[in-house]
Subunit: 555 residues, 2 copies
């Protein structure tokens, strides 16, 4: 590994795959993100391992499916000892640094059980999901809870933006005609500018902090993996000027939805999610027209800030040594399918934008291309390790490096199926349906054409993405689809069975001795003699071992 | 919990369910174990979670399936942080003490990654699978490897049994006519006595150490859970006098096997296991007749030692305060089905003896009965916690307390299916079949009548235990069984989906607030306002909360 190799891992929060101009949005302009796509590969079928922040991020940061890491919902601590990208990078001497959001909750009970001081270096890494928290900010600081003293509040105060709660007063509120505070959480205020000037907003601040980190690390000459993790365009949906007004109702794409989706024949879980407050709100056209322009403005601001960051990287001469990834943790229904938020598995929620800029000359042939390979966010950790030259760890990391795709050197598809999971135990949906907590586990599996969603106690949901790219027709109850459902169900069982649960030893632990084992009983070495009848039989085997040890292949 | 409550958890190694007189063995006499059965409940359908030492024990000691704890084979370290019975008992102030074998291998890499000193109290517990190792002895100390200075060797030396390797020379060798050492590992010597006198053999020594522990703990008045874990009747199959000669070839039950099991139509994995050395040996009648009497002698010795232990408990007045469990980690083919050892899922391998003596008066009605309930070794940890009065932890412990069965208070069956797993990556079978390491995962699921064994890349195996209790007819390729196979396969998917992977929070974490959540949006409390259109809508919800807080149900 060259000491000048780095990774810049950019993640947005709740950014839909189709809200980029390079991904076909009709009016949104994202020239800097488009430029990344032109320099790299844009993956058009990238799935989040869970369509919600915490579990999706825990999968991304561990390289493991939710079924394996067990942090099944926002707020559920990641179990202590679960190996993270940071653990793997630490082994090869690369710093894994955070600027922004992770949604990680420390497993304080587990740390206590193991006697680990949360303030120690190891304790911090375990508590921060493997990151060195150069700047940890999960982006929500309402009066009711969360971090009592976020660094961003201190920054705002230092800039003269005083308030009891600067985050709420300046960055997430607008101002009325009489100077009154207009609550930025409320969707009705989506068309107004946040009080904070754009250059001091969270997106700008986070970008500046990333630049500060890179400046220092570049000066020190150390390799780094920087996770620049924007809080936006996640709610509160309120953008600072001029971004609040860049787009208007005319830029709002028609909602993708049908009356059949609200009919009594629709799937009970789907219908129950439609009854959530956010779904009821986004089902209203008035809400969409007020909020979606703000959402677009927040994306445009991220794009501008990324332009600033890319110019900085170029100025520093880091372009050729830095692998850049741009993605999101999940999407946003924005009223499609009569839903808001995320949680379910339509592409607008579970599919994410993903651009990989691989500066290696071997990747020149793929620059500016769009890949239709089925890829997953758990592929990022193996990609980074591959970039730094580390050996793969398939017994721990359940994804695959994307570099064979950027370098057009893959022998075949990375995988036959992508999987995403969601646990609705936390949602009103559970109470509405009377489901037991343990039965709230939804699993989606797709082969790229069909998408099957399974739910204990309910019939499956099935979409045919080829004939129905809008996912408006649920084929889960169609007898003609029984074979497809059985095929994907069998694939799901294979997926469960293939879980990387044996994380303490590699596959090589079993197979490294195969050549010798073809010749003699390896248990002779520790003296464990199983099934030998008599001395003659044992001696014969000992002679085979001696012959093996004397043979040239030994050395 | 009364401070006088205790658990005596006795485990034999490789003891078949049917090698007890109370379980119907025609000539073997086990009066002391039979007496336990008469005092308690004998479970006739108890399954080990893996038919091999290490994984079976890791499941028993964690209360979790192999798919969850990930220690898939002997020698594979149990990942640090995996919660154990010892962790749960520590929370309620009960010592979890080991005398004998666990087969635990510490996750040294994991301990190092988390900065845990393996010599610290927490480090020892993590390294010893949750046990306080009063006496840890895994029972195999050949010259080739393992512990360089077992306590049992020191004991033998102190008794005057000197040798370079006392364990091997005295306890696991016989002596020839000329005084020469006859290797006790070799099956041909199964009919000879071990050099060591019975009262200084491993079984007697282990029992004495248990008595010493109980003596001290009883004097201190502290509650304890003692795992008395015998190494026998596991190989080396050599018993001290007089146990070597208690039984002879006439006591050897005919092998249960058929020619069809060796035919080319037999399942490839089954056939490949038949080619292992131990299987080839035990397929020979000469071997069975030499070894099985020794195996029976080792069991008879355990029975005698348990008689001594039970008299001690009675003398100490501990009978009424001690829950006693007698079981094994798996069985032994002993030539049945042309196999030796264990690994596969016929009842002689995967089913285990299980007796639970519950001294509570509530259990009087079930004393001396035989239960046909489907139970599993993962039920023991929840049973012990229940006995000590601890709350159940279904989000971590995947088994169920057996006390509702001993007390005849269960509302219904504990479970509809039992599951056992085996990873044959370590076996010659893998190389013989050319299977990839990752595809060596066998899973057995049974509903008590049918037993389905699934193997990636191969057709399933199916037995009907009602019509074919000897498991001689594999129905896995029978088209008439397609529906049964589909039904059990669906149950297997449910089993995978229901894994207790979310170990950091309980189900109550999701549902404790349900009554309030019926009334108002609980996210108001931390100030997270999702989907509200305007101030009026928000105010309405805030009023609902105020009403809830003022209502009498609040207090």
């Amino acid at each position: 590994m060259s000491p000048t190799q780095n990774v810049l891992f950019i993640m947005c929060d709740q950014l839909r795959f189709d809200y980029l101009s390079c991904a076909g949005h009709p009016t949104l302009r994202t020239p800097n993100i488009d430029a990344l796509a032109a320099r790299g590969v844009r993956f058009d079928r990238a799935y989040a391992q869970s369509p919600i922040c915490g579990p999706s991020r825990m999968s991304t940061y561990t390289g493991r499916y939710m079924r394996s890491h067990g942090s099944t919902q926002n707020g559920v601590p990641l179990r202590v000892g679960e190996p993270t990208l940071g653990d793997h990078l630490a082994e090869i001497g690369v710093r894994n640094v955070l600027v922004g959001k992770t949604h990680m909750v420390a497993d304080r009970a587990g740390l206590a059980r193991l006697g680990i001081d949360p303030a120690s270096e190891i304790g911090v890494r375990a508590a921060q999901c493997g990151f060195e928290p150069y700047e940890r900010d999960d982006g929500l600081h309402p009066d009711g809870g969360y971090d009592p003293a976020p660094a961003y509040d201190a920054y705002l105060r230092a800039q003269g933006f005083e308030a009891e709660n600067p985050w709420e007063y300046w960055a997430n509120s607008a101002e009325g005609a009489q100077g009154e505070t207009l609550n930025g959480w409320l969707l009705v205020h989506g068309d107004k500018p946040a009080r904070v000037p754009a250059e001091h907003s969270e997106t700008a601040y986070t970008t500046s902090r990333a630049i500060e980190f890179i400046e220092g690390a570049a000066a020190a000459g150390e390799p780094w993996c920087l996770h620049l993790s924007f809080i936006k365009p996640h709610w509160p949906y309120i953008a600072p000027a001029p971004y609040h007004a860049l787009y208007g109702p005319a830029d709002v794409k028609p909602a993708v939805r049908s009356d059949a989706e609200r009919a009594e024949t629709a799937h009970p879980i789907f219908r129950a999610f439609q009854q959530e407050r956010y779904a009821q709100s986004f089902a209203r056209e008035e809400v969409r027209q007020r909020v979606i322009p703000a959402y677009m403005g927040l994306i445009a601001q991220i794009d501008d800030e990324l332009g600033r960051l890319m110019r900085f990287l170029d100025d520093k001469g880091l372009r050729d040594s830095t692998l850049i990834v741009f993605t999101a943790d999940h999407g946003d229904y924005l009223g499609d399918h009569w839903l808001g938020e995320k949680q379910l598995f339509h592409d607008v929620s579970a599919k994410v934008p993903l651009i990989v800029v691989d500066p290696a000359p071997a990747a020149d042939a793929t620059r500016g291309t769009v890949s239709r390979d089925l890829v997953e966010l758990i592929d990022l950790a193996p990609t980074f390790l591959d970039w730094f030259g580390a050996a793969p760890k398939p017994h721990v990391l359940e994804g695959h490096s994307l570099l064979p795709l950027t370098r057009a050197s893959a022998a075949g598809p990375l995988r036959a199926h992508a999987v995403s999971e969601y646990d609705y135990a936390v949602d009103g949906v559970r109470r509405r349906l009377g489901t037991q907590v343990r039965d709230c586990r939804l699993v989606m599996i797709t082969d790229g054409r069909f998408k099957l969603i399974t739910a204990p106690g309910f019939r499956p949901i099935l979409f045919d993405l080829d004939t129905d790219p809008g996912e408006l027709t649920d084929l889960g109850a169609d007898p003609a689809q029984a074979e497809t459902i059985a095929r994907l169900t069998a694939a799901l069982l294979d997926w469960y069975r293939g879980a990387a649960n044996r994380i303490t030893v590699s596959d090589g632990w079993f197979s490294d001795g195969d050549a010798a084992a073809e010749v003699y009983d390896l248990l002779l070495d520790p003296g464990i003699l199983i099934g030998y009848w008599d001395e003659a039989e044992l001696d014969a085997e000992i002679h085979k071992r001696a012959a093996w040890r004397a043979a040239p292949q030994k050395g």
